[in-house]
């Protein structure tokens, strides 16, 4: 099939739409994990920005490296774009896991399950797209990689259905005794602080 037909341009538009939707889901996941109250923690926000910029740069380098066999411009653009998208998603998910672990944020909620599925799909997508970038279109190997990617998506969809069907784990609550002790400690600190301020005057 000629890639310069209007049908191919539609494919390109859908590919861009797919990439934008994936990034939007990633942003939504990050927002839910890192700013559940509506305010980003300042240190996390700065770190996340650095992560996004570094991920963009690395994914771009990775997408520019392969030298595909003879292909149309549109075909090459699609393969490189898919590789870029998968690499970017992988980096962002690993970065999110690292940040949430460092900041001790919960990573076993429904949101985390969506992220895990999407992360796994991106990882397999990275491998299949790497193959797509060096293989000729319409060959057996090329099509097999496409089937692998499609099967992975079905597996991830099943995982999401099951995980979102199961109830989310209840958040841990502070024991009553510990709550009382912390309340007393807070009162004591307030009192001491007032004394220290009075001393300063």
């Amino acid at each position: 099939m000629d890639r310069n037909t209007p049908t191919s341009s539609h494919i390109l538009r859908f590919a861009i739409l797919d990439h934008v939707l994936q990034l939007s889901v990633t942003h939504e996941l990050a927002r839910d994990v890192f700013c559940p109250t509506g305010t980003w923690a300042p240190d996390i926000r700065k770190g996340f920005l650095i992560l996004v910029l570094a991920s963009l740069a690395i994914a771009l380098v990775l997408a520019c490296l392969p030298s595909p066999p003879e292909k149309t411009v549109l075909g090459m653009l699609l393969d490189r774009g898919n590789l870029f998208s998968s690499a970017l998603q992988c980096e962002l998910f690993v970065g999110m896991i690292a940040f949430s672990s460092t900041a001790n944020l919960p990573w076993n909620t429904h949101v985390a399950r969506i992220a895990q599925g999407l992360g796994f799909y991106s990882l397999i997508g990275l491998l299949t797209e790497a193959g797509h970038n060096i293989l000729t279109r319409n060959t057996m190997a090329y099509e097999s990689l496409t089937y692998v990617r499609m099967s992975t998506y079905l597996i991830c969809s099943t995982y999401w259905i099951v995980m979102l069907w199961l109830p989310a784990p209840a958040p841990q609550e502070l024991p009553e005794e510990a709550r009382r002790q912390l309340f007393t400690l807070q009162r004591r600190v307030e009192y001491d602080l007032r004394k220290l301020r009075a001393l300063k005057r």
Partner: protein, 158 residues
Amino acid sequence: MTIHNIGFFGFLSVFLASILGIGTHYYLRSRRRELYPYGKWEELLKRLAPLDHQNIERIAADPAAQLDQDIHSVEAMSPQDIWRLLGGMRGIEVMEKNCSVLVDLVFLRPAMVSGGSTHRRATSVERAGGWSGTSAVSKRPRGPDVRRQPRQNTSTRR
């Protein structure tokens, strides 16, 4: 396969190894935190930084620090003295770190009690963190700075 593609696969391998390595590291760290939410006992002890306890006692013994004293009628330490005795900014940072350990200990306490060796563990905390009386004060150097070496005493005052 062209030279470009060999370079691409080399870069891809490094990339994949890094992604999987970092992901596994943080995943295992999260799992460990799930199993031991407030850390293992030994890890908590390692996090404790020793303080010059004598200086803290001097500040606490200051008349202005007594609850029943009117701070305007007694001769209190100057803020500069308190700052110096605390060990400056470094001393404040060490106390802040020790506070987070104390909070974790609050949560770990039920496990300690069920373990049946509360006293032994409490004593080991005091040894590691220097939360003790004055029985071994003379064994360590005096001075306002925060000390790095753990104090070697066995008192159990909490």
